[in-house]
């Protein structure tokens, strides 16, 4: 059975069209509310939790929920709330574990040490600084996560350009870095949440993911930095006196200042390397392949927390609970949408897209995913499409998975609300009195975003 046919015939329960339409309306309302998150000053966890509650009550009333005991592998039955198995705890564990791990590791001074070393290596030359910071953004986004990368590199950019008296270039730097977080976020399976969700659903291993994504990331990074240098007039310094002054100004950064303990610094560096290696090979390591990447992330977080064993509560407090509760509620909403056959409706829409021909369909899916991700959160989109593609039995090697991954990540570059990391870039701009409106961002980012999407469509089609 081919994918098109499977998607079109995914409906398995007897649910009336009216009920499906009701839940589809609820889903659209939730997506619109999420898009208006900034306007209504409500956190996304609360928005989605309220929609999840309404969806559960409606689904319960309409007898869509499979209430009853849950059967364990040993045949025993346990009573469990119906919404608990709806949550993808593997994804939650990866996000929770890796954010604690990155937070604790950052206290070792490792990331600021790398960032300052690169700043000094640039000798204060704006163009070199752009390339070093750009590459650092991509690597940090790939290894940590997009938001953390943007916070580290964006903060350093603001401080170093202020020190170099080049604050007029800050907007260009931050915009390029914001866009590059979404490029770097494509490099590994754990670089962004859409990657984790879609990659897990598709069964793509960490290594396969990197092999497939890296040529695109390399080309898109170089193209972005070249175009950024031209559009924002970021050049090398002409006069030798100004070059010497710039070199002296960046030399005043002390990369060792943030290192409270050299021992913990070395430990942090070793653990980061081990973390990346372990995550990379989780799918082939015995036992770990069954426990999953979430277990690996939580274990590494636990080991790092030993350094702060008497004050772990400060790291628990610092967890982005809004994000965690958002995911949990979102998985519940998607679960209900699946039961109400809303995902089948969307699947039929995708079937229509794919039905336009394999190449056109894949390209269209990528473009539509990007467009949808640009105006609302890319996570619900990725989660929904992953569920639909998985339900239709889409093979791991299908280019449709990659169309969703590229589209969901790159759509964030079209608008300032398209991804959390571009939102962080805009926040840093506002913090430094650079008022870039929604429209202003779109105008400045448009050439880059279109270039990224066109390159991605060409790449996915060429490699499929």
């Amino acid at each position: 059975m081919d994918t098109t046919e499977t998607l079109a015939n995914a409906a398995q329960h007897a649910v009336s069209s009216g009920v499906t339409a009701l839940f589809a309306f609820l889903l659209v309302a939730m997506i619109i509310t999420l898009a208006l998150e900034e306007k209504i000053h409500a956190k996304k966890s609360l928005i989605v939790s309220l929609y999840a509650a309404v969806a559960l009550i409606l689904a319960g009333t309409l007898h869509l929920l499979p209430f009853g005991p849950l059967e364990l592998p040993n045949g025993h039955e346990i009573e469990e709330p119906v919404y608990i198995p709806a949550i993808d705890w593997g994804v939650i564990a990866i996000i929770l574990g890796s954010s604690i791990f990155v937070d604790v590791t950052s206290r070792s001074g490792l990331f600021s040490w790398i960032a300052i070393k690169l700043t000094k290596a640039s000798k204060g030359e704006p163009l070199l600084l752009l390339w070093y910071y750009g590459i650092m953004t991509v690597v940090f986004s790939a290894l940590l996560n997009n938001v953390t990368a943007m916070i580290i590199v964006g903060s350093l950019t603001a401080v170093s350009l202020e020190k170099l008296r080049q604050k007029d270039k800050l907007l260009g730097f931050l915009l390029i870095e914001g866009l590059l977080t979404n490029i770097g976020g494509l490099l590994t399976l754990i670089s962004s949440v859409p990657n984790i969700i879609v990659g897990n659903a598709a069964g793509i291993s960490f290594v396969s993911f990197v092999i497939k994504a890296s040529p695109y990331v390399l080309v898109a990074t170089i193209a972005t930095l070249v175009l950024g240098g031209i559009l924002f007039s970021i050049r090398r310094i002409d006069s030798p006196a100004d070059r010497a002054l710039a070199a002296e100004q960046v030399a005043s950064f002390d990369e060792n200042d943030g290192i409270a303990s050299p021992g913990f610094f070395r430990f942090g560096a070793v653990m980061l390397g081990l973390f990346i290696l372990t995550i990379a090979f989780t799918s082939v390591l015995p036992v770990l392949k069954d426990l999953g990447m979430g277990f690996v992330a939580l274990s590494f977080a636990g080991i790092m927390l030993i350094r702060y064993k008497s004050e772990v509560q400060q790291f628990y407090k610092a967890i982005d609970w809004d994000l965690i509760f958002f995911f949990m509620a979102l998985f519940v909403v998607i679960y209900v949408m699946e039961l109400a056959l809303v995902l089948d409706w969307i699947g039929q829409g995708i079937s229509w897209l794919i039905g336009e021909g394999r190449a056109t369909g894949t390209g269209l899916l990528l473009a539509v995913s990007a467009a949808a991700s640009s105006v609302t959160d890319n996570i619900p989109l990725a989660a929904m499409l992953a569920k639909i593609l998985a339900a239709s039995g889409t093979p791991t090697e299908s280019s449709l998975w990659w169309a969703v991954i590229f589209g969901a990540n790159l759509g964030g570059n079209l608008t300032p609300i398209g991804s959390a990391s571009t939102l962080v870039a805009v926040t840093i701009m506002h913090k430094h009195n650079l008022n870039l409106s929604f429209g202003g961002f779109v105008v400045k980012a448009f050439p880059f975003a279109i270039m990224h999407i066109v390159l991605a469509i060409a790449y996915v089609l060429l490699t499929s």
């Binding site: 954010s99 990155v102 937070d103 950052s106 001074g109 600021s112 960032a115 300052i116 938001v147 953390t148 916070i151 580290i152 964006g154 903060s155 350093l156 603001a158 401080v159 170093s160 020190k163 030399a251 005043s252 950064f253 002390d254 990369e255 200042d257 943030g258 610092a318 967890i319 982005d320 994000l323 962080v424 926040t427 840093i428 913090k431």
Partner: protein, 286 residues
């Protein structure tokens, strides 16, 4: 999750303003006294032995004796004509008020507030309160400020007056009372942790001058042919009493302070009371 402000703080803290050593050359020195010419000349001879920087044969010494001026206006005009790179004088010119530790005298007061060149204030030659070691040597020199960060000019003058085997005390006393007022205000803000603020703000306030002093130590070792031994005094306390204590404890031969800064062209803060009260040793006001 990490915060933007957290990382900006990390990177801002990593910027350490380095000390830049620039040798000080004094090509022209003006000695102002209210004495006759022979007494003034004798004082000049004594001063030439005080510090290596005053011993250069290429330095032009000029003198303004008691008969050369009477009013402050006359004094300022004569100083302008002489265009010195260092002025040396003492308190209460043409006055008997030098017996009391309450003023600098009108001439010196005005001169210090408008002069752009450093002024070396020596103990009054007629007074008996000068320390036994005063004007003998510059083996123990102390530079002080309430913001000892990137204050290269102050340190360079202090270094210039040091004799080869000197100890250079670089002192920064953070005002304990002002700090307590700030912490008291923090204690009334619900969202700020008072204990964390006290600990971290205190550490940061002392870290910056300490970093700068470390840089002075490193740079002087690299660039000065006979670097003085740099000793840091960075702590909280009551500025005036703490400086008095340090000066006595280390038998300071010369105290170096800023007369003015960018925001305040006139003497202010602890500088004026120190200049008035510390009559027993020479003071260099840069």
């Amino acid at each position: 999750m990490l915060e933007v402000d957290e990382f900006e703080s990390v990177f801002r803290s990593a910027i350490k303003e380095p000390y830049h050593y620039r040798p000080v050359e004094l090509r022209s020195i003006l000695l102002i006294t209210d004495l006759d010419d022979s007494s003034s000349a004798a004082l000049e001879q004594q001063l030439r032995q005080f510090s290596p920087v005053l011993q250069s044969p290429e330095t032009l010494w000029q003198r303004l004796n008691g008969s050369d001026f009477r009013t402050t206006e006359e004094l300022l005009r004569r100083v302008e004509q002489a265009a010195p790179e260092l002025i040396i004088s003492y308190r209460n010119l043409h006055s008997e008020a030098w017996r009391y530790p309450h003023s600098l005298g009108e001439h010196l007061d005005v001169l210090l507030n408008i002069s752009t060149v450093p002024v070396l204030i020596i103990p009054h030659p007629g007074a008996d309160y000068a320390a036994a070691h005063a004007l003998q040597q510059t083996r123990s020199v102390m530079a002080i400020t309430d913001h000892l960060t990137a204050d290269d000019r102050l340190v360079n003058y202090a270094v210039a007056f040091c004799q080869p085997d000197a100890r250079l005390y670089l002192s920064h006393i953070e005002d304990q009372q002002a700090f307590e007022r700030m912490i008291e205000a923090v204690g009334k803000i619900r969202t700020l942790d008072t204990d964390v603020a006290r600990e971290q703000l205190g550490q940061q306030l002392l870290k910056e001058p300490q970093d700068y002093i470390n840089s002075c130590h490193t740079v002087l070792k690299q660039s000065h042919p006979q670097p003085p031994e740099v000793v840091a005094h960075v702590q909280f306390g009551h500025s005036l009493s703490e400086y008095h204590r340090l000066i006595d404890a280390h038998q300071i031969d010369l105290l170096v302070m800023n007369t003015q800064d960018d925001d305040h062209p006139a003497m202010r803060g602890m500088v004026y009371p120190l200049a008035v009260q510390l009559r027993q040793i020479p003071l260099l006001m840069v």
